[in-house]
C-alpha cells in the first residue's frame, strides 16, 4: 500500500490497490523522469536541477523522501519543472521519454498526439495563434524535407500540477484531489449539475503517477481528428526505464499510424513483442463534435515473435511513402535552375496496413475481410477504399511474393492461379481487340478486369465462387496447368470459401498494378 509517512516520505507501489494500467504507466513515467534527472546530475549537465529530496527506484516501487515536510512544495515544483519542459522551439519536451534530446520535428509530430488525447481542452494549455513549422530531413531514395506544422506552446497543465498536490502550508496534500481528462483522458465529470460531488477524486499516492502518465504513455495522431493513446503495461520499473525511450518513433515515417492495431504493432516492433500495450482511440462523435471522446479500446498482451516478424514484412512492403509537393513538381517540370539540397514532400500512408494489423492482433489470416473492405468508403477521406488500394498494388505485390507470408501452401497457389488466369484472359482480350480494331486494347482489358472484380465482390456463397473461378480458368489460355492447380485448391475453397474470396480479390488487386502499368506504357507509346 502507498503511504505518506509523517508527510516526509511517499512510497508509491506499482501493484497497490487502485493502480490501473494508466496509473502504472504513470509510475513508470515518474521513474523515467527521476532516472533522467539522476543521469543529468551524474553527467554534470543538470546543474540547474539540483534535487531537494532523496529518491529510490526499486523494481516495483518508488520512494520519495524529504528532509522536512515543508519542503514538499519546493521539491514537487522542481520535479515538475524538470519533468515537463517546453524547448526553445516552443515544443513540449519530456526528458523522461528520451535518452538524448530529439529533433524538433519528431517532437512536433508527438505534440499532435498530445493535442488529441491528454491536452485537447483549451483550459489545459496555452498555444500561439499562428502556426510555426519544423522539418524532418530524410535521406535515402533522394533527399527529402518533410515539413511539420505546429503551434508553439507557452504552458500546459502538467507544468503547474504540483500546486494541486500540496496544501496551504506547502506540505503534501492529504485530502483527495480532483482529476480531469488532462491527466486521465476520459475520466470526465459524471453529472455536470453536481460537478464537485461527481468528479473523480484520487489520493496523492495515485494522483502523482497520473501526472506522469504523459511521460509513460505514447500519444499519436492518426490525422487531425483522431488520436491514439498507447498505455504500456509496466511490470518492472527498472526494465521500463530502458524500454520507454525505444517506445518513441525514431524516424519521420514511424510517426504515422493508421489505427490502434497499427500503432500497437509498430510500438512492439520497436520495443519487443513481450511488452503488453493497451490503446484508447479518441475521436469526435456525431453527438459531441467539439471534443475527442473515447470511442474504442484495445488490449494486446504478449505476442509471439512470428506475429511481429509478419508485421515487419507487411510494414516493409506497405510503409509510408513520401510524395513531392505539387509546387516542387511544377518547378522541376518548368526546368528552373534553382538548386535545392532537399526536395519538399509530404507523407502518404498505406490503407491496407490498418486491416492487416487488425487481423494480426485478432490472430486471423492477414488478408481476412479484404473483400468487404473493397466495397466500403474510407471515413477519413470519403473515397472508396478500392480506389485507394490501387496505389498500393506494387506494395501488395511485393507482400504476396515475400517468403513466409502465407500460412499454408494453398493460399499461395490460389493467388498464383488467379493471377495467371487473369493474365491469360486479358492477353486474349487484348489480341481480340487489336484484331477487331473497334476498341482500344487497354480499355478492353480494364473493362474485363472490372467485370471480374465486380463478380468476385458480389459472390455470396461457395458454389458461386467455384463457378466463377472455373469460368475464369476456362476462358484463360493456359487451361491445363491451371486446372491442376484448381483441383489442389478445391479442398481449401470448400473449407473456407470466404477466405478464398478475400484471396481472389487480393490477387486481382495485386494484378491491377500490372494492368495500369501496361495501360500507361501503351498510352505513352
Amino acid at each position: 500500500m502507498v503511504s505518506v509517512n509523517d508527510l516526509k516520505t511517499i512510497e508509491l507501489e506499482l501493484h497497490a490497490p487502485g493502480m490501473s494500467p494508466l496509473h502504472r504507466a504513470g509510475l513508470g513515467g515518474l521513474a523515467c523522469t527521476l532516472h533522467a534527472w539522476q543521469k543529468g546530475m551524474c553527467s554534470g549537465a543538470g546543474t540547474n536541477w539540483d534535487y531537494p529530496f532523496r529518491f529510490e527506484i526499486k523494481t516495483d516501487s518508488i520512494t520519495l523522501e524529504l528532509s522536512e515536510p515543508q519542503q514538499a512544495a519546493n521539491a514537487l515544483q522542481k520535479l515538475f519543472e524538470f519533468g515537463f519542459q517546453i524547448n526553445s522551439d516552443g515544443l513540449i519536451f519530456l526528458p523522461g521519454q528520451f535518452h538524448s534530446p530529439p529533433d524538433s520535428a519528431l517532437l512536433a509530430d508527438l505534440q499532435a498526439g498530445y493535442l488529441l488525447t491528454f491536452l485537447q481542452h483549451g483550459t489545459s494549455r496555452k498555444l500561439a495563434k499562428n502556426e510555426s513549422q519544423v522539418c524532418h530531413r530524410l535521406s535515402g531514395g533522394g533527399s527529402w524535407e518533410v515539413p511539420v506544422a505546429y503551434r508553439k506552446w507557452s504552458w500546459f497543465k502538467q507544468q503547474s500540477g504540483w500546486k494541486d498536490l500540496i496544501d496551504q502550508h506547502g506540505r503534501f496534500q492529504t485530502q483527495p484531489i480532483r482529476i480531469d481528462s488532462s491527466i486521465y483522458p476520459g475520466a470526465s465529470i459524471r453529472h455536470f449539475a453536481f460537478k464537485n460531488q461527481t468528479a473523480i477524486k484520487e489520493p496523492l499516492k495515485r494522483i502523482l503517477p497520473l501526472y506522469f502518465s504523459l511521460v509513460g504513455c505514447l500519444a499519436m495522431a492518426v490525422n487531425r481528428g483522431v488520436g491514439i493513446l498507447l498505455v504500456p503495461e509496466v511490470k518492472d520499473l527498472h526494465e521500463f526505464i530502458q524500454q520507454r525511450p525505444r517506445l518513441n518513433p525514431q524516424h519521420a515515417s514511424e510517426c504515422r499510424v493508421l489505427n490502434s492495431a497499427d500503432a500497437i504493432l509498430q510500438a512492439k516492433m520497436r520495443v519487443g513483442a513481450k511488452l503488453g500495450i493497451n490503446s484508447v482511440t479518441f475521436q469526435p462523435t456525431p453527438w459531441a463534435l467539439q471534443i475527442k471522446s473515447r470511442v474504442k479500446t484495445c488490449e494486446v498482451g504478449t505476442l509471439d515473435d512470428l506475429t511481429i516478424s509478419h508485421f515487419q514484412k507487411v510494414y516493409d512492403a506497405l510503409r509510408p511513402r513520401i510524395v513531392a509537393l505539387e509546387s516542387d513538381l511544377n518547378r522541376s517540370s518548368s526546368k528552373q535552375t534553382t538548386v535545392k539540397a532537399f526536395q519538399s514532400g509530404y507523407r502518404v500512408d498505406s490503407i491496407m496496413r490498418s486491416l492487416i494489423a487488425e487481423n494480426l492482433i485478432a490472430r486471423k489470416p492477414w488478408y481476412s475481410g479484404f473483400s468487404s473492405m473493397m466495397s466500403k468508403t474510407n471515413p477519413n477521406t470519403g473515397r472508396l477504399f478500392r480506389d485507394q488500394v490501387m496505389y498500393e498494388a506494387q506494395g501488395l505485390h511485393q507482400l504476396i511474393s515475400t517468403p513466409g507470408i502465407w500460412g499454408r501452401d494453398e493460399e499461395r497457389l490460389l493467388v498464383g492461379m488467379i493471377q495467371n488466369a487473369v493474365t491469360g484472359l486479358l492477353s486474349g482480350k487484348r489480341s481480340e481487340a487489336i484484331h477487331s480494331a473497334r476498341r482500344s486494347a487497354p480499355s478492353t482489358c480494364g473493362w474485363a478486369y472490372e467485370k471480374i472484380r465486380l463478380k468476385l465482390a458480389r459472390t455470396q456463397c461457395q458454389s458461386q465462387l467455384r463457378s466463377l473461378l472455373s469460368q475464369l480458368l476456362n476462358q484463360s489460355s493456359s487451361k491445363k496447368t491451371l486446372s491442376t492447380e484448381y483441383n489442389q485448391c478445391l479442398a481449401f475453397i470448400n473449407e473456407d470459401w470466404q477466405r478464398c474470396r478475400d484471396l481472389s480479390l487480393l490477387a486481382l488487386v495485386c494484378f491491377s498494378g500490372r494492368v495500369s502499368e501496361e495501360q500507361k506504357l501503351k498510352q505513352s507509346a
Partner: protein, 212 residues
Amino acid sequence: MIGVRVTVPVSCFRKGYAREYLETHLLPPPATCYGFLLSLVGECDRKRHIGCRVTAGLISTPVKSVVLRKVWRVKNPRPEARENIRPDYQELLSNLELVLWLDSAEEDRSRPTLDKRVSSTLEYPKHTHRYGGLSLGESTHLVNDVSVIKEISKLKGDLEATMFLLDARGEQTLPVWVDHVQSTNTRYVTGTIQTRNLNTLSRDEIPMIIPP
C-alpha cells in the same frame, strides 16, 4: 464455502473510470457479486454481511460486443431537460455462465451468515421477502437462472474456471466496496485473473468485502 451458479444472457461490468465509452471488465468485480447476493436474499443494508469473501469465476467464454445506447447524466437539474440524455458506446458481454464463490467464515456469526441465507433462499424461495428483478451488473441485465452448487461434479464440462483471485503483485485491481457518487471511498484489491481448478481454491485467495 458455497458456489452459486449464475447465467446471464447480456451484461456489462463497467470500469470505474470509463465515463465515456463504457468499457466492461471480463468478470463481475467482488463488489458487484456481493450486491447481487444481497439482492438475491432481499437484504437492503449493504453493511449487513461485511467480512464475507466473494469472487466470480467464468465457466463459459463470453462474447464481447459494442452497442450504441442512451446514457443519462444530470447536466440540467430539471429532470425532463433534453440535454440530460446522450448516446454513448457500451461494451456488452453475452452468454455469461458464472460461478460465484462465497465464504462466510469471517462474518459476524451471531446472525445468519450470507452463505446460509443464499442456500435457504434458493431452497425455499417462498420464505424470502425481496423485490424487483434480479440482475448482475446494471439493473436491466437480468439473470436467467441461479442455483447453488452442492456437488462440484454437477458443473458443466471440466472443473476449471477463470477467476479473479488475490495476488499482491497482480495486474488487475477491482473494487470490493464502491462509492457510487464520488470515487473517494471506493476500496480496491489487487489480484490476477487466472484459470484455476475449483477444487483447489483456498479462502485466503478470495477477496473480502470490507468498506474503507
